[in-house]
Subunit: 331 residues, 4 copies
Amino acid sequence: MSPWAYVRARVRVCMCACVRVLALFFNFSQIFQFKNIIMNIAFIGLGVMGLPMSLNLIKGGHRVRGYTLLEKDMAAFVAGGGIAAKSSAEAVRDAGLIISMLPAGEHVRAAVFDPGGIAGGMPESALYVDMSTIGPLETDRIRGQLAGRGLSMMDAPVGRTSAAARTGTLLIFAGGTPEQIARAEPAFKCMGERTIDCGGAGRGIRMKLVNNFMSISLNALASECMVFADALGVSRPLAIDVMGGTPAGRGHFTTTYPKKVFANDLAPDFALNLAHKDLGLALDAANTLHVPLPLGAAAREIYSMARAKKMGALDWTALLRFYEETANPKG
Amino acid sequence: MSPWAYVRARVRVCMCACVRVLALFFNFSQIFQFKNIIMNIAFIGLGVMGLPMSLNLIKGGHRVRGYTLLEKDMAAFVAGGGIAAKSSAEAVRDAGLIISMLPAGEHVRAAVFDPGGIAGGMPESALYVDMSTIGPLETDRIRGQLAGRGLSMMDAPVGRTSAAARTGTLLIFAGGTPEQIARAEPAFKCMGERTIDCGGAGRGIRMKLVNNFMSISLNALASECMVFADALGVSRPLAIDVMGGTPAGRGHFTTTYPKKVFANDLAPDFALNLAHKDLGLALDAANTLHVPLPLGAAAREIYSMARAKKMGALDWTALLRFYEETANPKG
Amino acid sequence: MSPWAYVRARVRVCMCACVRVLALFFNFSQIFQFKNIIMNIAFIGLGVMGLPMSLNLIKGGHRVRGYTLLEKDMAAFVAGGGIAAKSSAEAVRDAGLIISMLPAGEHVRAAVFDPGGIAGGMPESALYVDMSTIGPLETDRIRGQLAGRGLSMMDAPVGRTSAAARTGTLLIFAGGTPEQIARAEPAFKCMGERTIDCGGAGRGIRMKLVNNFMSISLNALASECMVFADALGVSRPLAIDVMGGTPAGRGHFTTTYPKKVFANDLAPDFALNLAHKDLGLALDAANTLHVPLPLGAAAREIYSMARAKKMGALDWTALLRFYEETANPKG
Amino acid sequence: MSPWAYVRARVRVCMCACVRVLALFFNFSQIFQFKNIIMNIAFIGLGVMGLPMSLNLIKGGHRVRGYTLLEKDMAAFVAGGGIAAKSSAEAVRDAGLIISMLPAGEHVRAAVFDPGGIAGGMPESALYVDMSTIGPLETDRIRGQLAGRGLSMMDAPVGRTSAAARTGTLLIFAGGTPEQIARAEPAFKCMGERTIDCGGAGRGIRMKLVNNFMSISLNALASECMVFADALGVSRPLAIDVMGGTPAGRGHFTTTYPKKVFANDLAPDFALNLAHKDLGLALDAANTLHVPLPLGAAAREIYSMARAKKMGALDWTALLRFYEETANPKG
């Protein structure tokens, strides 16, 4: 080995050591991000969510070309290091990854297929990730139409709030093949805290819709519960404390369902008939007290239907069976 | 001080010390239970809940005289060490504590006021504890009528299931003065795991109603969520895992509400308008897939009302404000 | 035929002719009323409805003894020719017909069974008619308890408004045997325009409840329709004119149902699937326009359930079949 | 009078007589149709509704060129005298009037704007009439986009059933300028019994949506009423007969509303509080009898809200006021 080769080898060893030390400083995800600094990303839609998400991509070292309709948003994007494009088609021309974050399905459809849209400029080698929250059937249609042109699309809507968009701690519901998800992951890591593989194309938006259906409806039910407690003179802190130890506060998915209906055990721990009765007492009291409980009222009629199907003596979780028999999904 | 007095004093000190040591061994509640072994309790209603509860009182050392309509239940009660009475009036004659556990308000009213009922035999020194789940206004009326006769009543309905009644691990929602609750506590301890002081007369049944309203309605919503996930092809384990990290699974009481609407901060983390939009996407998809979401549909109209009240740009937790403005409790 | 027999026959013919002539002058109802001028009636409850009803009985020539709690009402009753009683028991003592008109089931129960109540003074020969609107199961219980004491009761709640109570043009939903109804008819005629024989004991209150359920819920639906029309810019007069020619304004009972579902013809004149679709269009538009349609939203989920039961291709009136299969009445 | 004038006068009289005789043969509408026999009409969408409608146009003497996707439908159209076109664009090329009758908004949009669509072939002089039932905002968007190209569109969805489509007795909800409606009237006359001028562009589909919202939701409510009557043992014929004389069967638009809420008279004929109470009695009975009343349950909560707004002592028609205050239409 020549002295020079020796020096080079030593230097290489030292550099490796340095890299390892650095790897102890920066965590691995940052290292991986580092590796991806050369990614060319197009970002369509720079609004309340899109702008902070795109800025986090830039901070993560990516080269981001953006397009949006509002000049103000574009100015903020450029001020943060983004490159302005004059159309979606122009933004996506050199991109390896194309992201859209738009308000509704019609905007996504327009951004993709209108003249000057994504489909008009997107390289066949690129991956298009729609992170908007739109109807799942619309997602499927757009993906199908793009596939017909040889273009690749996945869905990856996000959970949490605009604050999480700013801090890069979104929840990312990834709907695509494992390869697509892996390919987008360096970008997802800059924007989100956790990427959830939802099991295939279109499953990201579906998972998000399930989650949001539940949390948004539950918000209404929780509000009903609070005003009902108020009207009855039950203190909110007490009510919340008590419900923290019951399915009222902890939900059914990890408490009653696993032991009973998920386990096919419908022997009554708490009979559906009694649940129906207690809900009736609550509605009577509430209607006397001028407290509207529209979700509770809808729930009582469902219990009533389940009782008419002779489920009254079963466990209250048998209500899931009633719903299963009532629904008849096509897809 | 005579030597004898001295010895006695020393013995007393030693005994006190022994008691203290014992108190470290056995916890206080057990000590108090020991003290109460001689309590005379009347138990009216020996059904699915009442029977195991009364048997736990007997196991706790109390003398329990019971009355019920079904011979089979009475036989099981006697076999467990209970003393049979021929009427409620007879059962309560010597009791310090009277407990009733009956199916509905009309049964409680009859058990108390009908000829041969509790009110006819109850000593003025006794405390009557209704542990049934009945309407709160009915509880108030019965308590008021008894008070007019110089008789004392509190409410203490129970949470959890008949299994918990057997194992003595019920949740007891105590509605009475602190003195009443303390007096009944030795009996509660035999039947329940936790006694919750709900803040005064009639507040026990109210607290229970709030809790049950929430858990029972939530059961319907949780079922809707599961069949919706099924129809969309989202796996239940994935959905439950994901929702375990969001308000969908964790509820709003300890997540979004404390930070936002409880703190009077209605700046949008997640705008009510967007919640309304996402719920609409869910309902569209569900109605296409033949999945009925009656609670979700009721919820969307509430969001629609809140939007009409110009709350759309506020945080989604502002829905509680809408409910507060909509309700107008009298009591 | 003897001459005498001939004379008797002629006289009989003449008398018949006279009766017929009289019948042309006075109509039969007036004749019967005339006959009943000597009826002794007790009237319990002289409120917004009871007071004008009792005054119409007095105008009809009956002797009416009344009892009520409010002095003001009693004064008006006495001013109108009524006889004041100091208790229900006193009021009913000499009565052939006893009428109660009270706000709710608990008041009726108290008026009948409390000390000084109807049951305490009512002659066995009398007929008790409860004209209050109370729960049908409560009616049945009270009637059963009175029957146990050998006392006779029927139900006859009224339709229409307090204005109709004043003008004696109420609708009377009579629930009793034909003999009971005939016996009460002279009184009913003074108070009402039409007596409807609803088919037996307890059926009067049931018929009224069905009618009121429909008209009261329909009021909500009609209001939804009006605000929806307003929001869409459709003029109310036009909408009402158009709907006057369709089931929207004319109802289904005499238009679509007789031809289709009542006739077991479920071939689609208008397919249930299309009804579901149009309701979806309406809800979409309304939710965009900030118009809440809670009943419409509940309806859509019912159509969704019916579609899941493979009724989508049937006539929209097949929805009745869905409800029939969903309900399972016990009684 | 000269002999010639006399002859002319006689001839005129004879001709008038002949015209009258002809008018007895052909009715006037047919006469007017005769005038229009030269109209060139394009008909896009020849399904369950479109096919019989187009055939009625042909019977009316018009020359109809049609386009549809299903070969079977096209065959029936041609067999009935229609002229087959290979695309929408081809069908509309020579048309003075273009009619589309398609299942949903997306189909209309595609039929208009896709390559080979209506917009590609339509002469500027023609009038396009969309008779499909689609969302009103979609109608507005399509009309606006066509206007941008100098093309004229109106909406004219139809009421009644496919049977009425065959017999040419549809109800036509015309949304356009008076000139547009007059121009399309010769065609409308062949297909419908009555053309309703709904007051301008987009108002046809809006009027239809209001009508259908009401009749479709009412179908659900009517079914609830029937199963409730069944469960209570009230005979359907009796119930329908009785309700035929009350707002339950006659609706509120022409009975209670004109006298009360439309006349700004909210003094209680029937107090909202009493309506709320009766609905509660109905729901209690129904829930005891295992009869689900989801629309009734939703209605009760609305009454509860109105009571909380201190409307309880007002007339029940004040519920419309509550809805007016709750909604806040933007458009």
